[in-house]
């Protein structure tokens, strides 16, 4: 498996999702208020987590042969990981700062993982379709045998 392919696809997915989100938010007139509500450190950590789960999903999909089914499966996994990770950290930070009980928040995060899996699966499938369209075929999502490091 080519590590460059995984690096490119995982990074492209994370960047594309964030860029498209910003385009949509700006078109709706809410980009400033939405992004301004997030602190710099929080934003960097959130993107870093998104990037990490995107790389993980890309690695699993490429290693498994880059099928749409795998893209949907690991897209769901990425959605769950992102929401669970970001949600858990948010709950515990709020618990420390506000003195709230984290258990209720964690239950909410657990329930939120269900739509996260559904949305993640759809996004993963769509990104695979886009990837294949850009590079011109599923077989292009790997380096030729002589090129692989």
């Amino acid at each position: 498996m080519d590590r460059l392919v995984v690096w490119v696809l995982g990074t492209w997915h994370a960047c594309f999702l964030l860029a498209v989100f910003l385009v949509g938010a700006h078109a709706s007139g809410v980009a400033g208020s939405l992004t301004g509500a997030i602190g710099t450190g929080v934003g960097i950590l959130a993107f870093g987590w998104l990037w990490a789960v995107s790389l993980w999903a890309a690695h699993r999909v490429v290693a498994g042969g880059a099928s749409r089914a795998l893209a949907g499966l690991y897209g769901a996994g990425a959605g769950v990981l992102f929401v669970a990770g970001a949600g858990t950290v948010t709950i515990f930070v709020a618990a420390l700062q506000e003195g709230l009980q984290p258990l209720v928040g964690l239950v909410f995060v657990a329930f939120a993982c269900v739509p996260a899996a559904i949305v993640g699966s759809l996004v993963g499938w769509l990104l695979m379709v886009l990837d294949v369209a850009i590079v011109g075929g599923k077989g292009e999502l790997s380096a030729p045998p002589g090129q692989q490091p």
Partner: protein
């Protein structure tokens, strides 16, 4: 915010410069790896730059807001071109034209950024 601006500008220099180098000398796997790291830094700091304006961010109906939208769309195009460029590199195919294309689009993005900052 200074650090966010600095990383954003330095990342754009890497993206533009890398595209020019690739167009002149041909690309490499290492250049692609660095290019994507710079793109990620560019995108996340771009969000930070937008967030600085908060509710005062001009909307699309204004000249400034329209140029920002054009810049964001160019960023999405650059991302897609970069995938195509990296694909050529990992398949061992000529990628000079793709490097030139990414250099041109990233230069246009930089130009729109300068207008947004000083225009």
């Amino acid at each position: 915010m200074y650090a966010v601006h600095l990383v954003h500008v330095l990342s754009m220099a890497v993206v533009v410069g890398g595209g020019v180098v690739g167009a002149l000398q041909g690309g490499s796997r290492r250049l692609e790896a660095v290019h994507w790291g710079a793109l990620a830094a560019l995108v996340v700091t771009g969000v930070g730059n937008v967030g600085r304006y908060g509710d005062a961010l001009p909307v699309v109906g204004t000249a400034w807001g329209t140029v920002l939208m054009a810049k964001l769309v160019l960023v999405v195009i650059l991302l897609g071109l970069s995938v195509r460029r990296s694909h050529a590199v990992w398949r061992g195919r000529p990628a000079v034209a793709w490097h030139a294309a990414t250099a041109a689009v990233s230069a246009a993005i930089a130009g729109s950024g300068v207008w947004l900052a000083h225009g």
